[in-house]
Symmetry: C2
Subunit: 273 residues, 2 copies
C-alpha cells in the first residue's frame, strides 16, 4: 500500500492559491492514501468566529471538489482538514474523498486552545472507513494527546490513522511512535510549516510530518521549515495482527474490567484550584 | 517531595543476598518515596510455576519485614515487586510499605510473555494510596503499554506512579514521557539490570530506570548496566493541575461519550488469523 503526506505552508484565507500550491506539490504523484494538513486550504489563525464562518464549507463545496479532482489525478484516497459548516455550526473537520465522491467527514472532538472560540466541538462518533480492505481512521492534531482517540479508532478496526495536523507543541511526533506501538497501527501525521500572526494570536507550526509504523518506527519524517512530499510503501497487513510476541496480543490482553474510570471519570479532584 | 529509585541486579532465588545488596545501596538514603524493581528479591526467570510458588510470600513475610525496616531507616514509603501468594494463587505483585505497616499490594493485571505460565493475572482494581497528601498509584512493568493503566490511575487521582519494572523491550522509557504528559503525572520507573538464563528462557534487562515529570521531562536516568540510586526533589503540586495551557485542561477536555469502544471492545476483528 502506497501512503504519504503533503506538508504545506498555507497562506491565510487564500483557498485558490493553497489549492494550486498543493496541485503543484503533487504533480505526477500516485498513491493509495494521501493526507494533507489540518485546515490546509484556509489557514489556522482566525481573529474571530465570524472569520472562520466566512471560510466554512459543506461536503459539496470547493474543497470537496478539489479533493475529488486530486483523488482522480493521484489515484489515491485523500484525507484533508477543512472548516465544516453544518446546521448553523462550524467544526474543525477532516474530509475523506475518493475520485468518485466525498466519503465522509470527521469533526475534531478535542479542540486545542483558541479553537474553542472558533469551532464547535465534534459531535459525531470516531469512525473508520473501509477502502479496498484497508481500514482508515481519522483524527486531527491535538486528538493525539488523548490516548482514547487512537485507541478507539484501533478498536473500531483502524489499520492506519490519517492525522491532519497544525502542530505547535514539540511532543506529537514522539507520541505517535507510542500511539502506533500501543495500538499496532500505522499513522500518517501531515503537518504544516510557517507562522501566522493575526490579531492577538501568533502560532508557529513545527513541520516534521511523519509516517509511523505499527512497530513504533518512524518511516518518514519531513523537515521543520520546508514544503515536503513523501510517499512510501507499507505492509498494512502487519497492522491487522495485534501480537507483540508469541504470547502477548495487545488487544486480547486488555483487562477492560479494570478500566471503568476511563468512562465513569474516576474520583479525580483538581486540588490545585 | 523527595522521590527516587534503587536500580539493582538481583541474584535469582537469593532473597537474603538481594535484601543485603539493597541495604548496602540505600545506606544513608533519606526520601519520601523509594521504588524498587519488579521481583527485586527473587529474580524474574522461573523455570516453572512451582519454582515461583516456592518463592512466593504473603503481606507478612520476609519481604514485607525488609521493606518496613527500610522504610524506617530511609523515612520513605517503599514500593517494591514481590511474588504474592493468596488463596492458592500467586501474583506478580508490588507491595507498598511505610515504617509502620504494609499498606497494600497491587497485582499486575497485564502479564508479559511467560509470566502467563507462572502467575495468575491480577484480580484487584487499580488503586491509589494517599500518603501525606500525595496520591501514589502503582503499576508494574508491561502495564505501561496499555494506556488504560496509567490513565485509570490518574483518573483515580494519582499524582505519581510508582512503576517497578524488569524491562526487556526498548520502548518503555520513551513511552513513560508520553504517559506522564497525557496524564500530567510524575512516574518513577525502577528497573533492574543484568541477564538471567534459566531453562529455555533468556532475559536481558535494560536498566535506564527513570523519573519522568508531568511535563514529559526525564528528570533522572540510570545507566544500562550498573546498579544505581537516585533521589530527586519534585514539585508534586504540578501534577494536581491538569491544565496544559490557559484553555486546555486535559481531564476536563476528555470526551468520554466518544470512548465507548474502550470498554465495549469496538468491532475489531483479527483479520490476520
Amino acid at each position: 500500500m502506497k501512503v504519504g503526506y503533503i506538508q504545506t505552508s498555507p497562506v491565510f484565507g487564500e483557498k485558490e492559491r493553497n489549492f494550486n500550491e498543493v496541485k503543484k506539490q503533487s504533480k505526477n504523484l500516485k498513491a493509495d492514501l494521501i493526507v494533507l494538513p489540518e485546515l490546509f486550504a484556509t489557514g489556522y489563525t482566525f481573529t474571530s468566529k465570524e472569520e472562520a464562518v466566512s471560510l466554512a464549507e459543506d461536503l459539496k463545496s470547493e474543497t470537496a471538489q478539489f479533493l475529488i479532482e486530486m483523488a482522480k489525478t493521484t489515484e489515491a484516497v485523500l484525507v484533508a482538514g477543512f472548516i465544516e459548516k453544518a446546521r448553523g455550526s462550524i467544526y474543525n473537520s477532516a474530509m475523506i474523498a475518493s475520485s468518485e465522491a466525498v466519503l465522509g467527514s470527521y469533526r475534531k472532538i478535542h479542540l486545542y486552545n483558541k479553537e474553542k472560540f472558533w469551532f464547535s466541538p465534534g459531535n459525531k462518533p470516531l469512525n473508520v472507513y473501509k477502502i479496498k480492505g484497508v481500514n482508515i481512521g481519522i483524527m486531527i492534531c491535538f486528538d493525539w494527546i488523548f490516548p482514547e482517540t487512537a485507541r478507539t479508532l484501533a478498536l473500531l478496526g483502524a489499520d492506519i490513522i490519517a492525522h491532519p495536523a497544525n502542530l505547535v507543541m514539540p511532543f506529537c511526533q514522539k507520541a505517535m511512535t507510542i500511539r502506533c506501538l500501543e495500538n499496532r497501527v500505522f499513522a500518517i501525521t501531515s503537518n504544516r510549516i510557517g507562522e501566522e500572526k493575526r490579531g492577538d494570536n501568533h502560532f508557529k507550526f513545527t513541520g516534521r510530518s511523519q509516517i509511523t509504523s505499527c512497530d513504533s518506527e518512524i518511516l518518514s519524517t519531513a523537515p521543520t521549515d520546508e514544503n515536503f512530499v513523501d510517499i512510501i510503501d507499507i505492509d498494512i497487513l502487519k497492522a491487522k495482527d495485534k501480537k507483540l510476541n508469541k504470547i502477548n496480543d495487545i488487544f486480547e490482553d486488555r483487562r477492560v474490567e479494570f478500566y471503568n474510570a476511563i468512562l465513569k471519570g474516576g474520583n479525580y479532584v483538581n486540588e490545585s484550584k
